[in-house]
Amino acid sequence: MREEPKILGLLCKWCSYAGADLAGTSRFTYPPNVRIVQVPCSGRIDPVMIFRAFSEGYDGVLVSGCHPGDCHYGTGNYFARRKLAVARRLLETVGVSLDRMCFAWVSAAEGRKFSEVCAEFTERLKKLGGREKTMAREAVAR
């Protein structure tokens, strides 16, 4: 069983990814568990990507975008909010706890906030437990 939770971070390019960058340049420390994937906008996130993360064995998914009203493309994050609200309920129905998804609006100036979100989420997942309890992918015989 993996000790360290594996987290997928889907970050929008204009706000959240820049915010994560700022966390780095400002030397805020946070756990290395989040693997970051940049998307142009949180509205681009297809919940199928989140389903795929869980079926690949990730313990949690972090989605972060611009604050509502500040989307670089105007309205992308409004669509994201609705889509992701529905997707997390579907995952909950099949047994992926709501605690395994984290949504945060992080702007380009919020480096500290990003590092805090990551630290908090990692702690939460450590308490929830390991991969067996998620949609773990079958082990492939080597």
Partner: protein, 280 residues
Amino acid sequence: MKELRARAGEAFDRGAIDVLLCWRSDTEDGKVKPHVFKKGDDLETVVFDDRCVHNLVTFLPEVAGHNKKTGVVLKGCDGRALVTLLTEKRLKRDGLYIITVACDGVKIDGKTAAKCADCVTSVSPIADVVIGEKKALKPAEYKQLEYIEKMKPDERWQFFSQQFERCARCYTCRQVCPMCYCETCIAEQVGPAWIDASTKLSANTMWQLSRAYHLAGRCADCGECERACPERLPLRLLNAAMQKTVKELFGVVPGTDADAQPPLSVLAQDDPDSLLEGKR
């Protein structure tokens, strides 16, 4: 049924329709089957009774594409599917002549179908002709979800993974569904392949979740997916969860309001952030 046959004959006679998509009785094997009646066909085989389980809206876009004036006979749930398809502009309203017959429920294997307990409307919300009386119904309760909701997350995953494992990936559920009409389904995409092609558990899980998600806010709960599934998977469970979610979060019952926007593609600037935080 007499009235239905009479109205159909009349519609053919005055040129209101070129074809009629309806059910016919088949004396050879005693079943009732979808059929495209053409002018001059014997309308005595037109039937509407509790054996008419099929959702004719699945056939409708293609039949309407081949004919200028297409008549169709719909139950309540079928009509909800049509309302959503019209909202999505899958097909045009003019050119359709819709006859709806009040439905008392359909039977599967001799018993009333489970989906009929969650009936939202006994007649199609959109119609040119209404035959029979519309029933007053309670809002759907989705009692089958109570069993799932009582379970803890691990138990839920154990239950669903056992079901998903049995999926043969035959895609019959997708083909009978009127709402599944993508020219290239996400399951067939290969660059990247979001959903692996074989029947291992993780791929089956991806397929089931993706389909349920793509139907959120659109599914009319006609129940055909579950009836048609050769492995008898409880497919309505996931669709019911999505219907319940969309109703609780956005107050939407898909297909009941011809003027409503599809909930997941509407620009909703005033949604509260609690959508993403609320726990059940």
